[in-house]
Symmetry: C2
Subunit: 318 residues, 2 copies
Amino acid sequence: MARPIILGVVGDSGAGKTTLTRGLLRVLGDEHVSRLNIDDYHRLDRRQRAEAGVSPLHPAANHVDILTQDLLHLRRGEAVLKPVYDHRDGTLAAPVYLRPTRFLLVEGLLGFHTETLRSTQDVRIFLAPHEGLRRAWKVKRDCTLRGYTTDEVLRELDLREADAEHFIRPQQAAADIVVSFCPDPGGDPARLGADVILRDTLEHPDLSALIEGDRGPTLARRENDLLLRIPGDVHPEHAAELEEAVWEHMTFASHLRVHRLGEFTVGTDLRRSASLAVVQVIVLFHLVHARAALASGQAPSVRLAPRAPTGADSALHA
Amino acid sequence: MARPIILGVVGDSGAGKTTLTRGLLRVLGDEHVSRLNIDDYHRLDRRQRAEAGVSPLHPAANHVDILTQDLLHLRRGEAVLKPVYDHRDGTLAAPVYLRPTRFLLVEGLLGFHTETLRSTQDVRIFLAPHEGLRRAWKVKRDCTLRGYTTDEVLRELDLREADAEHFIRPQQAAADIVVSFCPDPGGDPARLGADVILRDTLEHPDLSALIEGDRGPTLARRENDLLLRIPGDVHPEHAAELEEAVWEHMTFASHLRVHRLGEFTVGTDLRRSASLAVVQVIVLFHLVHARAALASGQAPSVRLAPRAPTGADSALHA
């Protein structure tokens, strides 16, 4: 098959990677999307990590070389036998056969760690939510789905801080888009604000006409990027216009507009965030355009400037 | 690291693949030998095969594509995450990290199934023991180590016959050396005879001076190969001379001569077969010469004639 368009989503544990990609999966359709979670490349299981005193954020705790091999195979349209890490009990399990489809969504902790890894991904997103928000999300997720207690999660967060600083956050520099969700001052989880850095490494949809008034989204041109700020209290209609403006830049993909973007769950409640929807539609824009370019024989992503840091497969922390 | 020299040993289940490679491992040394068992690439576990009515000999029951990927990586000196099939209970387990060393011994059912697979292996051995001998070996092994009953093994053998005929035996055509052990008429397992076809695809050590007398080994030149026949009742001294003659062709590897070749076990008894020792030393000759050629910058194996069948990645059964 033709090679897949690969989206990379990187961010610390609990940063909202799966929430972002789940919405894209819903829109693009199960049959066209394969997913790869980099956590499956953990070299050590939960018990071994505890014994060795190593966090899952550390490259040495992961098969970075095998992940690189597999992404290169998948990018060539070849299937791989993907390892499996079971988050429910923290054990390693038998691998599964993964065949790439039209789109491959890759999410994890170390997706932009080396230049070769970075080069496999057509669109690169880094999620850097407000730290208080991330901790709250992580506690909720790990306690409900992964069998941890709140105390264990908080202790883990402290233990991981050095590796997060050293290995995770520097990857922000390699992203095309950096998204920082911030909490609603009133505490309403559906009213997330977002600062979205749109780097000049990709050609983004023109949103300038939509930016107006005092309380709505703002767009600022900076040296190497645009900063789009969507306040938590954005008027739903204003956010919808922003979303609409992006859809208008992909009329050939209008058949995808059957699903609502921005949905997420808090516990078992389904909520919708206007800023998440805007972020998702911008990512969708890039995936759909990359796919169209590939189908028409062009290079799928228009990178307008080299991204720092460069160098022969330099690890970002080096 | 420099790429490993790769030995491929193919033969039906119970043909003696592990017995052959175990002796080589002992001589070459644990630290220089990595092993890959193609059974680890089973796509279905024992229960799934039973439900689907498919034998492990069938290519569709194996990840032939992933095996090919992994052998290509290993041949380039790159580590792989090798899947694991547990023969004791017939289940698939978490993969293990395999780093190639100086020599890689690959054994299994389908190692010569496609041209790409064949091309990864420097020296290719096919084991085709007398069928009665293979059945006896398989029953003994499967009942003691793999938890089968004798009835189950015999039923399996019948069920597998069509696939053995269709997929396993045709691979004989792709081997450099074909070994057919035959039983001692008196039933002594240590007195195995062997017919060894030495194809002109490799440059074999000259053994002609050693062939003499009526009851000893014979060597016949045929159109595309030499046929070496070692009778089961070969005089131990005569077999030792044959072994010695091969060692003399690898004086630079004389440090390897600290271990006896030809050892194997029957149940818990350690036995020694003179013909197995001769076969092992011939294989060793090729591995050591390929390694020396690689180290000196030459192509590691001198293939003197193309091997049938050829063609772009043709499967042998096609």
